[in-house]
Symmetry: C2
Subunit: 275 residues, 2 copies
């Protein structure tokens, strides 16, 4: 039997939902209370994979998770895009007017700002995990408090959905990655996307030159993000995602980038989930 998958949050969370989609309905997860402890599970061999949110269309990149992957030399081996739909849920027999407080993850509260502004009688309280609040409400039979979580969580913990799809931006996509300790042996033909990190001097045109190389090698850029290198003024780290059709084009680009950039690192090579 394969080892469990470490997730941040509990069963019923969005991370769990990604596990179910990506690993064919698997429920074999280790529930971790932080991304750090999910990484610990991977490093100490309790898990073989982590599922980790990496960016979303509202808040952008989750840089602390990039930092975890980078620091521990982990490898991205897959990705999954989940359309995050938030629901407001509470114990049965209550209307929205009975709700005094809503508890949820700060990101979920932020994403539902417009809806929550329409109900100013409800106090917002930040919590660690969206699904965990739903679980607590259900287990401890707490009236007057609502959770913001997935419909999945409502179903799992027997709560009543008071309002559906309450996030401000209706198409609310989060990109999750599947992360391992080592890059597995795979057929190169299966690979058409890569996540790269490199460091450049702050010299006029240095990034343009690098992007020209990528373009010449037929790589398509799907994401770019600069990050000033702390404690090294005038050096910048770039996190870049590229897609490609031919692995050999990508290989050529890799060898040129390795010559041109300081500290070139492949964070992962995997299959583009967009195709």
């Amino acid at each position: 039997m394969s080892k469990p998958i470490a997730i941040q949050g509990i069963r019923g969370s969005f991370h769990h939902e990604v596990v179910q989609h990506y690993f064919n309905g698997s429920n074999n997860v280790i529930e971790c209370m932080s991304f750090d402890s999910a990484v610990d599970s991977l490093l100490n061999g309790k898990a073989d994979d982590i599922v980790m949110a990496l960016e979303n269309s509202i808040a952008g990149s989750i840089l602390p998770n990039y930092a975890l992957i980078d620091k521990h030399d982990l490898k991205i081996v897959g990705e999954y895009f989940l359309d995050i739909q938030h629901s407001l849920m509470a114990l049965d027999g209550q209307s929205i007017n009975d709700i005094k407080e809503v508890h949820s993850h700060p990101m979920a509260l932020l994403q539902c700002k417009v809806f929550l502004k329409k109900h100013p009688h409800i106090k917002l309280v930040e919590a660690k995990d969206t699904a965990d609040v739903a679980k607590q409400i259900s287990e401890d039979k707490i009236f007057g408090i609502a959770a913001i979580a997935s419909k999945n969580a409502a179903l799992m913990f027997g709560l009543n959905v008071l309002a559906e799809s309450i996030q401000t931006i209706k198409h609310n996509e989060t990109r999750f990655v599947i992360v391992k300790r080592e890059h597995p042996e795979v057929n190169e033909k299966m690979l058409n996307k890569a996540s790269l990190k490199f460091i450049l001097d702050h010299k006029r045109g240095s990034l343009a030159t690098m992007l020209n190389v990528m373009s010449d090698c037929k790589l398509n850029l799907t994401k770019i993000q600069s990050l000033p290198k702390i404690d090294t003024p005038w050096k910048y780290a770039f996190f870049v995602d590229v897609t490609f059709e031919e692995y050999k084009d990508y290989e050529k680009a890799k060898s040129i980038i390795a010559l041109m950039a300081d500290d070139f690192k492949i964070l992962g090579e995997y299959k583009n989930a967009r195709l």
Copy 2:
């Protein structure tokens, strides 16, 4: 007398500290409980300026604030880099062993993760504002609870500093911007930095071409961030900061970019705070 400056948080917060540095010791602030309400103060004319955190070296860009500037067509007119130093503070007469809970902003808790892990008996509780916790502890004489905030806040609210500079990364810089409704009339010679937004088709080399133009016009890139345009697949928005020596070089670049990109927008032209 000039109008007050709207900040997120209260007096004693890092935003207030930036106001004091940038506006020559001014204490004339409107304390807002969210960035949204700070923007409201600007739009309804109660304030002439907002001070707003825009990115930091750990969490990266604060995209919701970029979105606020973009949506309301506000203008960045200045920037300030503050080295954020967190202290642990509580009422007098307590040691760290007396502390049961620490309350602070999620970002501050994240930044002090390593220090807090060394004191596992302390429960972490998320709060809205760093300085506000310090104020509450002081006003309500709450023992057993500590705040993470600036030394400034400890001084202002008469708390005892139990530990200094407790953030994991010692050099912890946040970039704040000063934002107005309209771009003021200024001498072009005073300007050497700009924040730009443009949208490109997802076509191989489109960004490289744009960066080549900037490089040819002697612009230096200090930040780049891509953001997939929600609801418009295959279009990407780019947020770019550039510095330049001659305004006429920048003007030339602007006119070329305007021809090449969709939806080109100048978020602000101002003086580089790094020089």
